[in-house]
Symmetry: C2
Subunit: 234 residues, 2 copies
């Protein structure tokens, strides 16, 4: 199993395994056989959630629980993890069954994200929590530092608009999806659509303006993360 491509992958990963069989298992999709990465994915997903939660908790001392949850979901969603997996060429190391191999499974978000989580679980078992946390901090700290909860002087909608203008992209479009409740207990759900992107950035709050700001915050953070991860790629 030791080859140049794998060695390069381990270098990019930043953790050298004491037990290489753990890494091999983490890179083995269930289509390959009964010993695969599904249990490690379960473990890695939980460690990732915990470490990212703690990092966000410390990095944003004034953020509400709702803001922290939103930021976490942007960081650990499958699409983001798949991008991070691509940045270290994880797809090249995957062991897939012949069907998945033929249909290009090594390019699929869900398979890449699952293997990425499995690798995190494998690092935990191989080296313990402290080392696993160090790895996760080195991978996620740059992304977390790029996040914002809005600016003191500018609202998230203006910040998103400036960001998009800086990239020469079209301005966002806000759609009111739903209003429920009455009087002071009204609840607005809003969608922020960006030209050329199919992803759905949503926000909900007690006023339409606040819901739009929440959706803009999600969109802006997501764009920054995507751009940060892509920047790190090959």
């Amino acid at each position: 199993m030791v080859n140049i491509s794998l060695r390069r992958f381990v270098n990019r990963l930043g953790h050298s395994f004491t037990d290489p069989a753990l890494l091999e298992q983490a890179l083995t999709h269930r289509s390959f056989g009964s010993t695969n990465n599904e249990r490690l994915e379960f473990l890695g997903d939980a460690v990732l959630g915990m470490v990212v939660s703690e990092m966000l908790y410390r990095h944003f001392p004034a953020a509400s629980e709702g803001d922290l949850s939103r930021l976490r979901s942007v960081l650990v969603k499958g699409e983001a993890l798949a991008k991070m997996a691509r940045a270290i060429d994880l797809g090249d190391q995957l062991r897939l069954g012949s069907g998945e191999l033929k249909s290009g499974g090594f390019r699929r978000d869900s398979i890449l994200a699952g293997a990425y989580e499995a690798v995190i679980g494998a690092v935990l078992l191989d080296a313990g929590f402290d080392t696993c946390r160090e790895c996760l901090v080195s991978w996620f700290q740059p992304l977390i530092e790029g996040l914002s909860l809005g600016d003191e002087h500018k609202d998230p909608k203006s910040l998103l608009q400036e960001y998009l203008q800086g990239k020469g992209a079209a301005l966002p479009d806000y759609k009111l999806l739903n209003v429920s409740g009455e009087g002071h207990a009204q609840h607005f759900e809003v969608q922020c659509c960006l030209a050329g992107l199919s992803t759905d950035y949503r926000g909900a709050a007690s006023s339409r303006r606040k819901a739009e700001q929440a959706a803009a915050t999600v969109a802006l953070n997501e764009l920054k993360i995507q751009s940060n991860i892509s920047g790190k790629g090959r």
Copy 2:
């Protein structure tokens, strides 16, 4: 804030805080004021999920990722955490706003479970991950040891039936909720109903029998946990 009742609570909890202000915050519901336990709850929920996942991973080396997820959700669901909170009289220590106080908020599952998670987050910040994990292991190991993934010689439906008969309770009733897919790709969703209990134990699998077994496993584990937690109470 130091009183006999609080001292007894800390003894039951099994962790003596270096920074008592963290414990105070963990026990402060948002109805009490702007400095409350919501952020700590976010943190504690993530640590709890991670430690329980790791414990299950190690305790059930042959369990599938789906089994592990089901067991975890039984252990960390609000109802179970509220029971654990009651077993250490956490409700007596809660700081609630006057409205919640009048309406009996200290008895409500969601408030108790949230504060229990916040206390876990507070232990993490107060003493670090290793100490927090030790606490969680001491609280959850007895529950995990009572769990089973079925018996080699008996299927989960028989085990559930025997358990209920041992308690003098009525036999379970299985309802087919949904069938989707065709031929070999059929997917059955089944509900296991127990007399006098409103909770919904569900299972899904590629055959009706397997789905019933999955639902029976969830129900049995849940009953054992509830009975174990109640047994530990005052």
